[in-house]
Each structure stands twice: as C-alpha cells, then as structure tokens.
C-alpha cells in the first residue's frame, strides 16, 4: 500500500529569515543581524501518513509546520531527503500530485477581490477540471454548510477576514481532493466558525473512504480532539508521533501541576528542584501573576516547588493537579509551552 504522504530524512534549510517589513526599519535591520544565519525549518523529518487518516502536526510558531505543508504541496523543494505524496515524488512528479491534493491555509485572506465569492471558488474548481455544473452544486452546498450562502454573490473584497477564510475552506473542499492539507485551519476564527469547520473536517474524513487530511495546528485541543494520530514538531524535528491517547500515556506516570503565583522574579530555582521534569511559565501582567505548568515526576517534589516559590516572597494563589494534555506532553519534551 502506498502512503498518503511519506517523507524520508526530509530537510529544508532557508538561507536566511524572511525580512519583516512590517517591523520598523531599524528593528528589521537588527532582527536580520540577530537571525542572520540559515534556518533549518525541517530537520531530517521521517513521517508517514496513511490513507484515510486525519493526521495532526502540533507545534509552536516557527516549528516548521507550514514548511512541511509547502513541500508536500509542491510549492517548495526539499534541501535534502525526499517526500512523496500519493506515491509520487514532490521533486519530479508534480503533475500527478497536483490533481490529487488541495490546500487551505488559515489566517490569510487570499482571493480575487473583484470576483464574487462564488465565482472565486468556481474558478479554482475549474483549474482542477471539475465539471462546471458539479462544481456549482458543491459550492452551494458547502456555502450552506459554512454559513456563507448569503454572501455568494458578494464581491470577495467586501468579505470580512473570517468570511474569506471560510471561502478558502470551501475552495479546498470543492475539488474533493484525495489528500487535503490544512495549515492552521481555524487560526483567528471565532468559536462558532471554528467548531463548524472542525466538525466538517472530521466528518469529511470519517464518512468517506480514502480521504486523508494533514492538519497543522498550535492548538493542543484541536489536535487532541480531532486527530487519529499526532506528530509533535519543534524546530523542524518530529519529537513524538502517536495517537493522542498514547502520547498522553507517555507522561502518565508523571503528573502535571498547575500553579498560579504572584509574579516570580526568577524561575531558575524551580528548574533546580529534583524530581521535576520540564516546566513552562507564563507571566500574566494584567493579574500580576505567573502561571506555571510543571511536569512532576516525583510527588514529593511538590513541597519543594512550594517552598522555592515562597522563598522568593511570592504567594501561591492556586494550585491544581491536572490530567495530562498534549500541551503537557509538549512541555515535558521541549521545556516550553506551545504558545510561548
């Protein structure tokens, strides 16, 4: 059986960080200097995704998720190693691949502003050779599902960001691809729209045979709730790959303690405590607190943690032990949270 996608020692190095013109000139220059060298966006990635899977790639910003998607979508060549989609080589057999895939990337507002929503989606469907009538029926149906039907004859340039994102989601589904790549599909969407999209994706994979979705996200909950298997990625490397349940089982013998304390001057003393694994800390300036998530390997460490905090004159406002989440798995492996 061929896999939906397969990578072998896939590595992608960028010569330099992209310039961010959004930043002020001065700081852009400084940034360039600081981050001057080459960036390894994907570092010997070996990943196979099976046909019919809803596969999640979970990692913080800059982990290499988008880069992997771009390589698989034939937009970007690997620096070394290889990648296959539906059994075809992304470097050489692009035409065979392109017929079978589609991609949607969240949090962006692409689209031909001067076309109507429906025309815009229709046009892309035509690039895939979908019979026009079939395409139009699918578009209407999808527009109903995503709550965009009343905007079907509206110019794309007048759509809100969220509406454009829904339009692009429809653009992805309308070609009925064998493999669909979704890059942070719910980024920036409101709760309701996110839920609709998540449910649609799950149904789409589960109700049809042979449909594969590779979804990237930095929302732990999204990966946990939706995906059959999840790969955790950071700095271009796959750190773990399993079902969400098995990933959490990896740290089950450990427990997670969450503390809310007065803003800590330093978290260094906590790192030195015996019996704890990795931890993450996030300052909440508005409340003058620090939120700590600590993977505790040995319960007796908890009292040491508490005294390390009070020794700084900081008050413990709350503390609870929680069931491990995928974020905890990430913290235990990387030593920082997903959104840091």
């Amino acid at each position: 059986m061929t896999y939906a996608t397969e990578t072998r020692d896939l590595t992608r190095i960028f010569k330099r960080k992209p310039k961010r013109h959004l930043l002020k000139r001065k700081s852009a220059k400084k940034n360039e200097k600081e981050n001057g060298g080459p960036v390894t966006a994907l570092d010997h990635v070996n990943l196979t995704i099976k046909e019919g899977e809803l596969f999640g790639l979970l990692g913080p910003n800059g982990a290499g998720k988008t880069t992997l998607i771009k390589v698989l979508c034939t937009l970007l060549l690997p620096t070394s190693g290889s990648a296959y989609v539906a059994g075809f080589d992304v470097s050489k057999e692009v035409n065979q691949i392109r017929r079978k895939i589609n991609m949607v990337s969240g949090g962006e507002t692409s689209g031909y502003g001067l076309l109507t929503t429906r025309e815009n989606i229709w046009m892309f469907s035509q690039f895939y050779g979908i019979p026009s009538k079939v395409a139009k029926e699918r578009i209407d149906e999808l527009m109903h599902t995503f709550g965009l039907y009343d905007k079907k004859n509206v110019k794309v340039r007048t759509l809100s960001t969220g509406e454009r994102q829904k339009m692009n989601m429809i653009r992805g589904f309308v070609t009925d691809p064998e493999i669909l790549f979704l890059d942070e599909p719910t980024l920036g969407l409101d709760v309701n729209a996110s839920r609709t999209i998540r449910e649609y994706i799950m149904n789409w994979v589960r109700k049809r045979e042979h449909k594969t979705v590779l979804l990237t996200t930095h929302y732990m909950m999204e990966a946990e709730m939706m995906c059959d298997r999840v790969a955790i990625i950071d700095r271009g490397r796959i750190l773990a790959l399993d079902t969400p349940a098995n990933l959490k089982r990896m740290i089950r013998k450990e427990s997670t303690v969450q503390l809310e304390v007065d803003t800590l001057k330093s978290t260094a003393p906590i790192g030195g405590i015996k019996g704890i694994g990795n931890f993450s800390s996030k300052d909440d300036i508005a409340h003058g607190t620090t939120n700590l998530t600590i993977i505790v390997e040995d319960e007796s460490a908890i009292s040491d943690i508490m005294s390390a905090i009070t020794a700084q004159g900081s008050r413990i406002r709350s503390m609870r032990k929680t069931d491990p989440t995928l974020e905890d798995v990430f913290i235990s492996m990387v030593g920082k949270g997903l959104e840091e």
């Binding site: 959004l22 392109r98 895939i101 991609m103 046009m123």
Partner: protein
C-alpha cells in the same frame, strides 16, 4: 483551463463599475501613451526638417505606425509580467493557482488574452485617428489582407512569447523590480525601429535590433499597410530583404523566443521553488 484564465483576465481588465472608467483605462490610456510619443517625434521631426506638412511625410507615417502597433508590445508584456506580481502580492492567490493542475504557462497566456483584445481596439483607434486627423496614408490591397492577418497572428504570438519570458523572470523578482516591466518594453522601443529606423542606430544597436522579432514584425506591417512610395523614402536598414524574407525572420525569431520562454519558465520555476519564493510577499 485557458478559458477560465482568460475569463479571469477579462474580469480584471474590465471590472470597472463605471464603463467610462473602463474605457479610459483600457483604451484611451494606451492610445494617449502612443500619442505622447508621436507628438514628441513630431516636434523632433519638425525641428529637423522644417517641413510643416508632416502628415504626408514618409518618416512621420513610419513612426506613427510603429507607435500604434507598439501598444500591443507594451500592454501584452506588462500584462504577462503583472500576472505573477499581482497574484503574489495583491491577491495572494499564487500558491493556490500554482499548486493546482492548471499549467502556469497556460494560465499566464490566458490572463494576457484580454490584453490582446484591448490592445487591438487601442491600436485601431490610434490608426483611425492617424488617418482621419493627421491624414496619414494607409493603403493595403485586398490581396494582402490574409497576409496582414497572418503577420498579426505571428507578431502577437511573438509578443506573448516575450511576455512569457518576462513572466518567467518575474518568478524570481520582487514587486519593486518594476524596472523589468518598463525597461524591457523600453528596450524594444529603442531597438526595434518603433520611432526611428534601425539605420539611425550605431552598429551594435542595429545588431540588437536585428536579433529582436519585433523589428521584423513592425517592418512587415509597415510594408503591408503603408504605400510603397513612402516605404521607399525611409532608410530602414532592412531594405535589402524582401517581405518574404522579413516574415521568415519574424517566424524564426518568434519560434526562438517561444523556446526560450519555455526554457526560462522551467528554470526560473525550479529556482523559485528551490529558494521558496513562489509565494513570497514583500509585506508592505
């Protein structure tokens, strides 16, 4: 798929809520552009020759026809160049078009098709103005019409081929490299005998002109639509060749540019994928 790309191009070029605005942008602007250049040469010629009846001057007819048909070159080249730039920076759709099964090369030709149509109208308007207001003699025998149409088709293919070369290059260039979009047509303007004959150029310039298909295209058109008495008065630098020879050169150089465009496209596309800049935006 060509059809949809052409449709998109047409929607973009014609999508003005005001038909008046549409006319101004798509037709009057290129026509006016051609006229500014005509006017400049008019003045230059007048100073040079002191001849007040320029409408009847062979030299003036020569440059007028060159300018009118150059509208094709300018607008199709710009159209091709701008496809990648606008899809990349403005609509941000390039990655979705690029990763779809449509051949990007076909896509660009499709998008430029509406430019050909609009340029045809603009050129016709310019010529009509020349004939009726400036009394330029245009004469073509009925027998020559099929040949003229054939020359037009080859010439357009040739302009599209050059446009595709430009589009290929723009895979690798950022938005501010507009120099490419203006510089290359400018080069054709200087070297292809648009506004003055090849014979005016220094030796190396003439060699450049002789290597460019636009030179032969414009020459063939002039020989077909201007009276032969006028043609004979202008030292074009191409008189040693008969019309058949000119058309043969046009065909050969057009074929060459098509091959070049395909090679360039393959190469720049590969380099852009390698560098990860297919869908780069300059972000400002």
């Amino acid at each position: 798929m060509f059809k949809q790309a052409a449709w998109l191009g047409w929607e973009m070029d014609s999508n003005w809520t005001e038909p008046g605005l549409f006319l101004i942008y798509s037709i009057i602007k290129p026509v006016a552009g051609a006229f500014i250049l005509v006017l400049m040469s008019f003045v230059a010629l007048f100073i040079g020759t002191g001849n007040p009846d320029l409408g009847k001057s062979a030299m003036f007819a020569y440059l007028f026809v060159g300018n009118a048909f150059f509208i094709y070159v300018a607008s199709v080249l710009f159209g091709c160049f701008q496809v990648i730039q606008s899809d990349r920076e403005w609509y941000q759709t390039i990655r979705y078009v690029y990763m779809s099964p449509i051949n990007f090369y076909t896509y660009i030709v499709g998008r430029a098709a509406s430019k050909v149509l609009l340029a045809t109208i603009a050129t016709a308007v310019t010529l009509a103005f020349g004939v009726f207001a400036l009394h330029i003699d245009l004469s073509m025998s009925l027998w020559d019409i099929p040949l003229f149409l054939a020359v037009m088709v080859i010439g357009l293919l040739c302009v599209v081929a050059i446009g595709l070369c430009l589009a290929g290059l723009s895979f690798l260039t950022a938005k501010h490299t507009h120099g490419l979009a203006e510089g290359i047509p400018g080069m054709f303007y200087l070297f292809c005998g648009v506004i003055f004959p090849l014979s005016v150029l220094p030796g190396w310039g003439q060699s450049v002109g002789r290597a460019l298909p636009i030179t032969y295209w414009l020459e063939a058109i002039r020989r077909l639509i201007l009276p032969s008495s006028q043609i004979a008065q202008v030292t074009t630098g191409l008189e040693q060749r008969d019309l058949a020879g000119i058309i043969a050169l046009l065909l050969i150089s057009t074929a060459f540019f098509f091959l070049l465009s395909i090679l360039l496209f393959r190469m720049t596309e590969y380099l852009a994928r390698k560098a990860g800049i297919i869908d780069m935006t300059t972000n400002y």
